[in-house]
Symmetry: D2
Subunit: 119 residues, 4 copies
Amino acid sequence: MPDSDRLEALQGQLRAFVAERDWDQFHTPKNLTMALVAEVGELIEHFQWLTPDQSTQLPEDTRAEVELEIADVFLFLLRLCDKLNIDPVLAAGKKLALNGERYPIAKARGKATKYTKLS
Amino acid sequence: MPDSDRLEALQGQLRAFVAERDWDQFHTPKNLTMALVAEVGELIEHFQWLTPDQSTQLPEDTRAEVELEIADVFLFLLRLCDKLNIDPVLAAGKKLALNGERYPIAKARGKATKYTKLS
Amino acid sequence: MPDSDRLEALQGQLRAFVAERDWDQFHTPKNLTMALVAEVGELIEHFQWLTPDQSTQLPEDTRAEVELEIADVFLFLLRLCDKLNIDPVLAAGKKLALNGERYPIAKARGKATKYTKLS
Amino acid sequence: MPDSDRLEALQGQLRAFVAERDWDQFHTPKNLTMALVAEVGELIEHFQWLTPDQSTQLPEDTRAEVELEIADVFLFLLRLCDKLNIDPVLAAGKKLALNGERYPIAKARGKATKYTKLS
Protein backbone atom coordinates (compact mmCIF):
# COMPACT_ATOMS: atom_id res chain seq x y z
CA MET A 1 0.00 0.00 0.00
CA PRO A 2 1.41 3.46 -0.78
CA ASP A 3 2.69 5.49 2.13
CA SER A 4 0.08 8.03 2.70
CA ASP A 5 -2.74 5.61 2.22
CA ARG A 6 -1.03 3.65 4.99
CA LEU A 7 -1.07 6.75 7.19
CA GLU A 8 -4.72 7.37 6.38
CA ALA A 9 -5.54 3.74 7.12
CA LEU A 10 -3.68 3.91 10.43
CA GLN A 11 -5.58 7.01 11.51
CA GLY A 12 -8.82 5.23 10.72
CA GLN A 13 -7.81 2.16 12.75
CA LEU A 14 -6.84 4.37 15.65
CA ARG A 15 -10.16 6.20 15.51
CA ALA A 16 -12.01 2.88 15.58
CA PHE A 17 -9.85 1.58 18.43
CA VAL A 18 -10.74 4.59 20.55
CA ALA A 19 -14.43 4.56 19.62
CA GLU A 20 -14.85 0.86 20.50
CA ARG A 21 -13.49 1.56 23.97
CA ASP A 22 -15.46 4.80 24.43
CA TRP A 23 -12.21 6.59 25.17
CA ASP A 24 -12.91 9.63 23.05
CA GLN A 25 -14.32 11.35 26.14
CA PHE A 26 -10.80 11.40 27.61
CA HIS A 27 -9.10 12.61 24.45
CA THR A 28 -9.23 16.37 24.77
CA PRO A 29 -6.21 18.05 23.20
CA LYS A 30 -5.06 19.02 26.70
CA ASN A 31 -5.12 15.43 27.90
CA LEU A 32 -3.53 14.13 24.72
CA THR A 33 -0.51 16.45 25.10
CA MET A 34 -0.04 15.00 28.58
CA ALA A 35 -0.23 11.43 27.28
CA LEU A 36 2.30 12.41 24.62
CA VAL A 37 4.71 13.57 27.32
CA ALA A 38 4.31 10.36 29.28
CA GLU A 39 5.20 8.33 26.18
CA VAL A 40 8.15 10.57 25.29
CA GLY A 41 9.35 10.04 28.87
CA GLU A 42 9.28 6.26 28.36
CA LEU A 43 11.17 6.68 25.10
CA ILE A 44 13.90 8.86 26.56
CA GLU A 45 14.42 6.49 29.48
CA HIS A 46 16.01 4.03 27.04
CA PHE A 47 18.61 6.60 26.05
CA GLN A 48 19.37 8.52 29.23
CA TRP A 49 22.50 6.67 30.35
CA LEU A 50 23.81 5.77 26.91
CA THR A 51 26.63 7.67 25.24
CA PRO A 52 25.65 9.29 21.93
CA ASP A 53 27.62 6.54 20.17
CA GLN A 54 25.85 3.77 22.07
CA SER A 55 22.55 5.31 21.07
CA THR A 56 23.39 4.72 17.41
CA GLN A 57 24.02 1.02 18.01
CA LEU A 58 21.18 -0.28 20.13
CA PRO A 59 21.09 -3.96 21.06
CA GLU A 60 18.28 -5.66 19.16
CA ASP A 61 15.98 -6.06 22.19
CA THR A 62 16.38 -2.42 23.17
CA ARG A 63 15.69 -1.38 19.59
CA ALA A 64 12.49 -3.43 19.64
CA GLU A 65 11.36 -1.70 22.85
CA VAL A 66 12.28 1.70 21.43
CA GLU A 67 10.21 0.94 18.33
CA LEU A 68 7.14 0.38 20.50
CA GLU A 69 7.75 3.59 22.44
CA ILE A 70 8.09 5.54 19.20
CA ALA A 71 4.83 3.94 18.10
CA ASP A 72 3.10 5.18 21.26
CA VAL A 73 4.39 8.71 20.71
CA PHE A 74 3.24 8.61 17.09
CA LEU A 75 -0.20 7.26 17.98
CA PHE A 76 -0.88 10.03 20.50
CA LEU A 77 0.46 12.62 18.07
CA LEU A 78 -1.94 11.32 15.41
CA ARG A 79 -4.82 11.41 17.90
CA LEU A 80 -3.99 15.01 18.72
CA CYS A 81 -3.89 15.88 15.02
CA ASP A 82 -7.22 14.18 14.54
CA LYS A 83 -8.89 16.13 17.34
CA LEU A 84 -7.44 19.44 16.12
CA ASN A 85 -8.07 18.65 12.48
CA ILE A 86 -4.42 19.07 11.60
CA ASP A 87 -2.71 17.17 8.78
CA PRO A 88 0.71 16.27 10.25
CA VAL A 89 2.44 15.79 6.89
CA LEU A 90 1.16 19.09 5.56
CA ALA A 91 2.05 20.89 8.80
CA ALA A 92 5.55 19.42 8.80
CA GLY A 93 6.10 20.47 5.18
CA LYS A 94 5.06 24.02 6.04
CA LYS A 95 7.34 24.10 9.08
CA LEU A 96 10.27 22.73 7.12
CA ALA A 97 9.88 25.58 4.62
CA LEU A 98 9.81 28.09 7.50
CA ASN A 99 12.92 26.50 9.01
CA GLY A 100 14.64 26.86 5.67
CA GLU A 101 14.20 30.63 5.90
CA ARG A 102 15.13 30.74 9.54
CA TYR A 103 18.31 28.73 9.13
CA PRO A 104 19.82 29.65 5.74
CA ILE A 105 22.34 27.06 4.61
CA ALA A 106 25.24 29.51 4.41
CA LYS A 107 24.81 30.62 8.01
CA ALA A 108 23.61 27.45 9.68
CA ARG A 109 26.03 24.99 8.12
CA GLY A 110 27.66 22.76 10.73
CA LYS A 111 26.51 24.87 13.66
CA ALA A 112 24.35 23.48 16.38
CA THR A 113 24.92 26.77 18.13
CA LYS A 114 22.91 28.64 15.52
CA TYR A 115 20.31 25.93 15.68
CA THR A 116 19.76 26.13 19.39
CA LYS A 117 20.55 29.76 20.02
CA LEU A 118 23.32 28.68 22.42
CA SER A 119 26.36 30.91 22.08
CA MET B 1 2.37 15.13 -6.08
CA PRO B 2 0.01 12.20 -5.68
CA ASP B 3 -1.35 11.94 -2.18
CA SER B 4 0.17 8.53 -1.74
CA ASP B 5 3.79 9.64 -1.57
CA ARG B 6 3.49 12.53 0.85
CA LEU B 7 5.06 10.92 3.91
CA GLU B 8 7.91 9.43 1.89
CA ALA B 9 8.48 12.78 0.16
CA LEU B 10 8.53 14.60 3.52
CA GLN B 11 11.13 12.24 4.92
CA GLY B 12 13.28 12.83 1.85
CA GLN B 13 12.96 16.62 2.17
CA LEU B 14 13.89 16.43 5.82
CA ARG B 15 16.94 14.31 5.04
CA ALA B 16 18.06 16.84 2.43
CA PHE B 17 17.42 19.77 4.79
CA VAL B 18 19.69 18.22 7.41
CA ALA B 19 22.38 17.18 4.91
CA GLU B 20 22.61 20.67 3.38
CA ARG B 21 23.27 22.12 6.81
CA ASP B 22 25.67 19.35 7.85
CA TRP B 23 23.54 18.75 10.92
CA ASP B 24 23.56 14.98 10.70
CA GLN B 25 26.57 14.96 13.05
CA PHE B 26 24.27 16.24 15.85
CA HIS B 27 21.44 13.83 15.14
CA THR B 28 22.31 10.83 17.26
CA PRO B 29 19.20 9.07 18.55
CA LYS B 30 20.11 10.27 22.06
CA ASN B 31 20.18 13.91 20.97
CA LEU B 32 17.05 13.56 18.88
CA THR B 33 15.02 12.29 21.84
CA MET B 34 16.11 15.41 23.72
CA ALA B 35 15.08 17.67 20.85
CA LEU B 36 11.76 15.84 20.78
CA VAL B 37 11.20 16.67 24.44
CA ALA B 38 12.02 20.34 23.91
CA GLU B 39 9.41 20.52 21.15
CA VAL B 40 6.79 18.65 23.17
CA GLY B 41 7.46 21.16 25.95
CA GLU B 42 6.68 24.03 23.58
CA LEU B 43 3.52 22.25 22.48
CA ILE B 44 2.24 21.61 25.99
CA GLU B 45 2.87 25.23 27.01
CA HIS B 46 -0.07 26.24 24.82
CA PHE B 47 -2.40 23.98 26.78
CA GLN B 48 -1.19 24.16 30.38
CA TRP B 49 -3.58 26.79 31.71
CA LEU B 50 -6.55 25.90 29.51
CA THR B 51 -9.48 23.88 30.74
CA PRO B 52 -10.02 20.64 28.83
CA ASP B 53 -13.01 22.31 27.14
CA GLN B 54 -11.01 25.34 26.11
CA SER B 55 -8.42 23.02 24.60
CA THR B 56 -11.05 21.72 22.18
CA GLN B 57 -11.86 25.24 20.95
CA LEU B 58 -8.58 27.00 20.33
CA PRO B 59 -8.62 30.54 18.98
CA GLU B 60 -7.40 30.52 15.37
CA ASP B 61 -4.02 32.10 16.13
CA THR B 62 -3.30 29.64 18.93
CA ARG B 63 -4.32 26.78 16.67
CA ALA B 64 -1.87 28.01 14.03
CA GLU B 65 0.95 28.09 16.60
CA VAL B 66 -0.02 24.65 17.86
CA GLU B 67 0.10 23.33 14.30
CA LEU B 68 3.72 24.48 13.98
CA GLU B 69 4.66 22.89 17.32
CA ILE B 70 3.05 19.61 16.27
CA ALA B 71 5.06 19.89 13.04
CA ASP B 72 8.29 20.22 15.04
CA VAL B 73 7.45 17.19 17.15
CA PHE B 74 6.62 15.19 14.03
CA LEU B 75 9.81 16.26 12.23
CA PHE B 76 12.06 15.15 15.09
CA LEU B 77 10.11 11.92 15.44
CA LEU B 78 10.65 11.23 11.73
CA ARG B 79 14.36 12.03 12.08
CA LEU B 80 14.61 9.58 14.96
CA CYS B 81 12.82 6.92 12.92
CA ASP B 82 15.18 7.57 10.03
CA LYS B 83 18.30 7.16 12.18
CA LEU B 84 16.96 3.98 13.80
CA ASN B 85 15.58 2.62 10.55
CA ILE B 86 12.08 2.38 11.98
CA ASP B 87 8.93 2.75 9.88
CA PRO B 88 6.60 4.80 12.12
CA VAL B 89 3.39 3.71 10.40
CA LEU B 90 4.33 0.04 10.56
CA ALA B 91 5.45 0.37 14.19
CA ALA B 92 2.22 2.15 15.16
CA GLY B 93 0.14 -0.54 13.48
CA LYS B 94 2.00 -3.24 15.43
CA LYS B 95 1.57 -1.34 18.69
CA LEU B 96 -2.12 -0.78 18.08
CA ALA B 97 -2.59 -4.53 17.65
CA LEU B 98 -0.72 -5.13 20.92
CA ASN B 99 -2.87 -2.53 22.67
CA GLY B 100 -5.94 -4.35 21.40
CA GLU B 101 -4.86 -7.44 23.32
CA ARG B 102 -3.86 -5.46 26.37
CA TYR B 103 -7.11 -3.52 26.59
CA PRO B 104 -9.91 -5.83 25.48
CA ILE B 105 -13.03 -3.87 24.59
CA ALA B 106 -15.22 -5.57 27.17
CA LYS B 107 -12.92 -4.67 30.04
CA ALA B 108 -11.56 -1.32 28.94
CA ARG B 109 -14.76 0.28 27.77
CA GLY B 110 -15.19 3.78 29.19
CA LYS B 111 -12.44 3.36 31.76
CA ALA B 112 -9.46 5.62 31.84
CA THR B 113 -8.57 3.86 35.06
CA LYS B 114 -7.85 0.63 33.24
CA TYR B 115 -6.00 2.58 30.60
CA THR B 116 -3.64 4.28 33.00
CA LYS B 117 -3.42 1.68 35.71
CA LEU B 118 -4.71 4.25 38.20
CA SER B 119 -7.09 2.71 40.68
CA MET C 1 15.79 19.69 61.88
CA PRO C 2 15.35 23.09 60.24
CA ASP C 3 14.37 23.12 56.61
CA SER C 4 17.48 24.01 54.82
CA ASP C 5 19.66 21.82 56.97
CA ARG C 6 17.27 19.07 55.87
CA LEU C 7 17.89 20.00 52.24
CA GLU C 8 21.64 20.06 52.81
CA ALA C 9 21.47 16.69 54.55
CA LEU C 10 19.43 15.22 51.69
CA GLN C 11 21.93 16.40 49.12
CA GLY C 12 24.70 14.75 51.12
CA GLN C 13 22.78 11.46 51.33
CA LEU C 14 22.14 11.56 47.62
CA ARG C 15 25.80 12.18 46.88
CA ALA C 16 26.76 9.20 49.05
CA PHE C 17 24.10 7.00 47.42
CA VAL C 18 25.52 7.72 43.98
CA ALA C 19 29.16 7.35 45.06
CA GLU C 20 28.56 3.95 46.68
CA ARG C 21 27.12 2.66 43.40
CA ASP C 22 29.79 4.30 41.25
CA TRP C 23 27.04 5.99 39.27
CA ASP C 24 28.65 9.39 39.12
CA GLN C 25 30.18 8.42 35.75
CA PHE C 26 26.65 8.43 34.27
CA HIS C 27 25.60 11.71 35.85
CA THR C 28 26.64 14.28 33.29
CA PRO C 29 24.28 17.26 33.21
CA LYS C 30 23.11 16.11 29.78
CA ASN C 31 22.16 12.67 31.06
CA LEU C 32 20.57 14.06 34.21
CA THR C 33 18.22 16.31 32.22
CA MET C 34 17.09 13.19 30.35
CA ALA C 35 16.51 11.29 33.58
CA LEU C 36 14.55 14.28 34.84
CA VAL C 37 12.27 14.09 31.80
CA ALA C 38 11.68 10.37 32.29
CA GLU C 39 10.59 11.00 35.88
CA VAL C 40 8.38 13.95 34.94
CA GLY C 41 6.78 11.63 32.37
CA GLU C 42 5.95 9.12 35.10
CA LEU C 43 4.52 11.91 37.23
CA ILE C 44 2.31 13.32 34.49
CA GLU C 45 0.96 9.87 33.64
CA HIS C 46 -0.97 9.94 36.91
CA PHE C 47 -2.77 13.12 35.87
CA GLN C 48 -3.31 12.78 32.13
CA TRP C 49 -6.88 11.46 32.13
CA LEU C 50 -8.06 13.27 35.27
CA THR C 51 -10.15 16.40 35.15
CA PRO C 52 -8.51 19.41 36.81
CA ASP C 53 -10.94 18.94 39.71
CA GLN C 54 -10.10 15.27 40.10
CA SER C 55 -6.43 16.21 40.22
CA THR C 56 -7.07 18.24 43.36
CA GLN C 57 -8.65 15.26 45.13
CA LEU C 58 -6.42 12.27 44.52
CA PRO C 59 -7.34 8.95 46.09
CA GLU C 60 -4.88 8.14 48.85
CA ASP C 61 -3.04 5.41 46.94
CA THR C 62 -2.60 7.62 43.89
CA ARG C 63 -1.37 10.43 46.09
CA ALA C 64 1.22 8.08 47.61
CA GLU C 65 2.45 7.11 44.14
CA VAL C 66 2.53 10.74 43.06
CA GLU C 67 4.60 11.57 46.14
CA LEU C 68 7.24 9.05 45.06
CA GLU C 69 7.29 10.41 41.50
CA ILE C 70 7.73 13.94 42.81
CA ALA C 71 10.56 12.61 44.94
CA ASP C 72 12.27 11.17 41.85
CA VAL C 73 11.94 14.47 40.00
CA PHE C 74 13.34 16.33 42.98
CA LEU C 75 16.25 13.92 43.42
CA PHE C 76 17.38 14.27 39.81
CA LEU C 77 16.94 18.03 39.99
CA LEU C 78 19.16 18.11 43.09
CA ARG C 79 21.75 15.92 41.34
CA LEU C 80 21.77 18.31 38.40
CA CYS C 81 22.21 21.28 40.74
CA ASP C 82 25.05 19.47 42.46
CA LYS C 83 26.90 18.78 39.21
CA LEU C 84 26.43 22.36 37.98
CA ASN C 85 27.17 23.87 41.37
CA ILE C 86 23.81 25.63 41.49
CA ASP C 87 21.93 26.38 44.71
CA PRO C 88 18.29 25.64 43.83
CA VAL C 89 16.80 27.78 46.59
CA LEU C 90 18.97 30.76 45.72
CA ALA C 91 18.28 30.32 41.99
CA ALA C 92 14.54 30.09 42.59
CA GLY C 93 14.59 33.23 44.73
CA LYS C 94 16.40 35.11 41.94
CA LYS C 95 13.96 33.86 39.33
CA LEU C 96 10.95 34.76 41.45
CA ALA C 97 12.26 38.34 41.68
CA LEU C 98 12.69 38.42 37.88
CA ASN C 99 9.17 37.07 37.41
CA GLY C 100 7.89 39.83 39.66
CA GLU C 101 9.24 42.39 37.18
CA ARG C 102 8.03 40.45 34.16
CA TYR C 103 4.51 39.98 35.47
CA PRO C 104 3.58 43.14 37.40
CA ILE C 105 0.60 42.54 39.66
CA ALA C 106 -1.58 45.20 38.05
CA LYS C 107 -1.21 43.70 34.59
CA ALA C 108 -0.96 40.00 35.34
CA ARG C 109 -3.78 39.74 37.87
CA GLY C 110 -6.11 36.86 37.05
CA LYS C 111 -4.73 36.35 33.57
CA ALA C 112 -3.23 33.08 32.52
CA THR C 113 -3.10 34.56 29.05
CA LYS C 114 -0.48 37.08 30.11
CA TYR C 115 1.33 34.37 31.96
CA THR C 116 1.69 32.07 28.99
CA LYS C 117 1.88 34.61 26.20
CA LEU C 118 -1.27 33.10 24.68
CA SER C 119 -3.45 35.81 23.18
CA MET D 1 17.86 35.30 57.13
CA PRO D 2 19.32 32.29 58.87
CA ASP D 3 20.29 29.58 56.42
CA SER D 4 17.92 27.14 58.02
CA ASP D 5 14.69 28.76 56.89
CA ARG D 6 15.50 29.33 53.24
CA LEU D 7 13.30 26.62 51.69
CA GLU D 8 10.37 27.48 53.94
CA ALA D 9 10.79 31.17 53.17
CA LEU D 10 10.92 30.48 49.44
CA GLN D 11 7.69 28.50 49.57
CA GLY D 12 6.04 31.37 51.41
CA GLN D 13 7.26 33.93 48.85
CA LEU D 14 6.02 31.76 46.03
CA ARG D 15 2.61 31.40 47.67
CA ALA D 16 2.38 35.19 48.06
CA PHE D 17 3.52 35.76 44.47
CA VAL D 18 0.72 33.56 43.18
CA ALA D 19 -1.91 34.99 45.53
CA GLU D 20 -1.13 38.60 44.56
CA ARG D 21 -1.71 37.72 40.91
CA ASP D 22 -4.80 35.61 41.59
CA TRP D 23 -3.16 32.74 39.76
CA ASP D 24 -4.10 30.07 42.25
CA GLN D 25 -7.21 29.34 40.18
CA PHE D 26 -4.93 28.00 37.41
CA HIS D 27 -2.75 25.93 39.70
CA THR D 28 -4.51 22.61 39.81
CA PRO D 29 -2.06 19.72 40.15
CA LYS D 30 -2.93 18.69 36.60
CA ASN D 31 -2.02 22.09 35.19
CA LEU D 32 1.11 22.35 37.32
CA THR D 33 2.49 19.06 35.97
CA MET D 34 2.04 20.50 32.47
CA ALA D 35 3.85 23.71 33.41
CA LEU D 36 6.61 21.57 34.89
CA VAL D 37 7.03 19.78 31.56
CA ALA D 38 7.20 23.04 29.64
CA GLU D 39 10.00 24.25 31.92
CA VAL D 40 11.89 20.95 31.72
CA GLY D 41 11.63 21.27 27.94
CA GLU D 42 13.30 24.69 28.09
CA LEU D 43 16.00 23.26 30.33
CA ILE D 44 16.76 20.29 28.09
CA GLU D 45 16.96 22.52 25.01
CA HIS D 46 20.24 23.90 26.34
CA PHE D 47 21.75 20.42 26.41
CA GLN D 48 20.32 18.64 23.39
CA TRP D 49 23.17 19.18 20.93
CA LEU D 50 26.00 19.15 23.47
CA THR D 51 28.23 16.15 24.00
CA PRO D 52 28.11 14.78 27.56
CA ASP D 53 31.55 16.33 28.10
CA GLN D 54 30.46 19.72 26.87
CA SER D 55 27.51 19.55 29.25
CA THR D 56 29.94 19.44 32.18
CA GLN D 57 31.70 22.61 31.05
CA LEU D 58 29.03 25.11 30.15
CA PRO D 59 30.07 28.59 29.02
CA GLU D 60 29.21 31.11 31.72
CA ASP D 61 26.26 32.68 29.86
CA THR D 62 24.72 29.27 29.14
CA ARG D 63 25.19 28.29 32.76
CA ALA D 64 23.36 31.45 33.84
CA GLU D 65 20.44 30.60 31.55
CA VAL D 66 20.41 27.02 32.76
CA GLU D 67 20.27 28.26 36.35
CA LEU D 68 17.11 30.22 35.57
CA GLU D 69 15.52 27.20 33.87
CA ILE D 70 16.33 25.01 36.85
CA ALA D 71 14.75 27.68 39.02
CA ASP D 72 11.54 27.52 36.96
CA VAL D 73 11.41 23.74 37.27
CA PHE D 74 11.99 23.97 41.02
CA LEU D 75 9.34 26.67 41.49
CA PHE D 76 6.64 24.65 39.73
CA LEU D 77 7.68 21.52 41.62
CA LEU D 78 7.32 23.44 44.90
CA ARG D 79 3.90 24.73 43.80
CA LEU D 80 2.81 21.19 43.04
CA CYS D 81 4.04 20.02 46.44
CA ASP D 82 2.19 22.88 48.09
CA LYS D 83 -1.10 22.01 46.38
CA LEU D 84 -0.76 18.31 47.19
CA ASN D 85 0.52 18.97 50.70
CA ILE D 86 3.71 17.04 50.05
CA ASP D 87 7.02 17.81 51.73
CA PRO D 88 9.58 17.40 48.94
CA VAL D 89 12.56 16.84 51.23
CA LEU D 90 10.74 14.24 53.27
CA ALA D 91 9.42 12.52 50.13
CA ALA D 92 12.88 12.45 48.56
CA GLY D 93 14.37 10.96 51.72
CA LYS D 94 11.73 8.21 51.70
CA LYS D 95 12.34 7.50 48.02
CA LEU D 96 16.09 7.39 48.48
CA ALA D 97 15.64 4.73 51.16
CA LEU D 98 13.41 2.72 48.80
CA ASN D 99 15.97 3.05 46.03
CA GLY D 100 18.59 1.72 48.40
CA GLU D 101 16.60 -1.50 48.71
CA ARG D 102 15.85 -1.64 45.00
CA TYR D 103 19.45 -1.13 43.92
CA PRO D 104 21.68 -2.90 46.47
CA ILE D 105 25.26 -1.65 46.24
CA ALA D 106 26.72 -5.07 45.45
CA LYS D 107 24.46 -5.59 42.46
CA ALA D 108 24.09 -2.06 41.14
CA ARG D 109 27.70 -0.96 41.35
CA GLY D 110 28.85 0.67 38.12
CA LYS D 111 25.88 -0.54 36.13
CA ALA D 112 23.55 1.86 34.41
CA THR D 113 21.96 -1.25 32.90
CA LYS D 114 20.61 -2.35 36.27
CA TYR D 115 19.53 1.20 36.95
CA THR D 116 17.49 1.58 33.79
CA LYS D 117 16.44 -1.98 33.19
CA LEU D 118 18.17 -1.88 29.79
CA SER D 119 19.88 -5.13 29.00
